[in-house]
C-alpha cells in the first residue's frame, strides 16, 4: 500500500500534533530528529506504534542526547537514519514538517524520485537547526530528490562566506557538487516552485 502521510518532527513539543495527524491514516510514517528525538519515550508514541504507526528516529541525534537502544521502553521507534527520513519525504503522498518553526504541509505532488524538495532556512546561519536542515538536505539528495535550498534573509550569511561550522560547509559543498541549487530570497513570503517544503 502506498505511503499516505509522512511526518517529520524536529521539536518534541510537536509530537501530540503529529500523532493527531497520523491517527486514522492507514499508511503513515513518523520520523523524529534533532530535538524531536526527546519525544521518543512518550507513551503516546509507543501506543501509536502499537496501533500500526511506522516510526523511526535519527540514531545520531538520539545518541547526541543520551538516547541509545535500550534506554527506551518496549515499543519505541526504530533507531534509523537520514535515509529513513529522506525516503519518507520521497515516497509519502502528503508530507508534514514540524521542525520548531512554521509547519509545512505539502500535499498532492506525485511521490517518487525527482520530486522537488525546498529546504527553507529561516533562521540565523549560526543556529544549530541550520546544520540539521542541511544534513537532512544531503540525505534528500542521496535518494534522488531534487533539492532547492531556499535561503531566507535571517540565514543569508550562509552564502556570504565559508566561515561556518565544518558540518555546514561540507553539506553545502556536497549539495553543490551533486548539482543541487541554492536560492536566496528577499522575503519569507517568496515561494519557489517545488513539490514539498520543509522549513527550518
Amino acid at each position: 500500500m502506498a505511503l499516505e502521510l509522512g511526518v517529520l518532527v524536529a521539536d518534541a513539543a510537536m509530537l501530540p500534533r503529529a500523532l493527531d495527524l497520523v491517527r486514522n491514516v492507514d499508511e503513515a510514517q513518523l520520523f523524529l530528529m534533532d530535538d524531536g528525538v526527546r519525544a521518543a519515550g512518550e507513551p503516546r508514541l509507543a501506543a501509536a506504534i502499537d496501533d500500526g504507526l511506522d516510526a523511526a528516529l535519527c540514531a545520531m541525534d538520539a545518541e547526541a542526547r543520551g538516547i541509545v537502544p535500550g534506554t527506551l521502553g518496549a515499543g519505541g521507534p526504530r533507531f534509523g537514519s537520514q535515509w529513513d527520513h529522506a525516503t519518507m519525504v520521497r515516497d509519502a503522498a502528503r508530507v508534514v514538517a514540524m521542525t520548531g518553526g512554521r509547519i509545512d504541509d505539502s500535499d498532492g505532488a506525485t511521490p517518487g524520485p525527482g520530486r522537488r524538495v525546498a529546504v527553507r532556512l529561516t533562521r540565523d546561519a549560526r543556529d544549530p537547526k541550520i546544520a540539521q536542515a542541511l544534513r537532512a538536505a544531503v540525505g534528500y539528495a542521496a535518494v534522488e530528490l531534487s533539492v532547492i535550498v531556499v535561503v531566507e534573509p535571517p540565514a543569508r550569511e550562509l552564502l556570504r562566506h565559508d566561515q561556518h561550522a565544518a558540518a555546514v560547509v561540507r553539506a553545502i559543498a556536497t549539495l553543490r557538487a551533486l548539482g543541487h541549487r541554492f536560492v536566496e530570497v528577499a522575503t519569507s513570503n517568496h515561494r519557489v516552485s517545488c513539490d514539498v517544503e520543509v522549513s527550518w
Binding site: 540514531a59 545520531m60 537514519s81 544531503v138 539528495a141 557538487a177 551533486l178 543541487h180
Partner: protein, 87 residues
C-alpha cells in the same frame, strides 16, 4: 573486482552518500567492502543498500569497526546533471 571504502569517523548521511558515490564508480557485480565505526551505520547502511537493490553479502564486527560487504546489483543515481564528485 574488490574495493574498500573506509568510512571510519564518518556519520549519517555521509555514510550512505559516500557509499552510493563509490558504487556509482564501480562496474556491476563489483564487491565493495565498507568499513564503519558508528554502530547505527552498521545497521542502517546495509538496510539502505538492500532497499536500493544492492546485495549485502555480510556484516561483521572487526574490533571497534564493522565490515559491510556489498555487491553492486543496481545503478545508483546520485549526481544530477552538472554535478561532480563532492569534496
Amino acid at each position: 573486482m574488490k574495493e574498500t571504502l573506509d568510512l571510519s569517523g564518518e556519520v549519517c548521511p555521509f555514510t550512505f552518500v559516500r557509499t552510493k558515490l563509490r558504487l556509482e564508480e564501480l562496474p556491476m557485480g563489483a564487491e565493495l567492502h565498507i568499513l564503519v565505526d558508528h554502530a547505527p551505520a552498521a545497521e542502517n547502511v546495509p538496510r539502505s543498500l538492500v532497499a536500493e537493490g544492492q546485495e549485502v553479502v555480510s556484516v561483521a564486527a572487526e574490533g571497534a569497526r564493522w565490515r559491510i560487504v556489498a555487491k553492486k546489483r543496481a545503478e545508483p543515481h546520485l549526481r544530477r546533471p552538472g554535478g561532480k564528485r563532492p569534496l
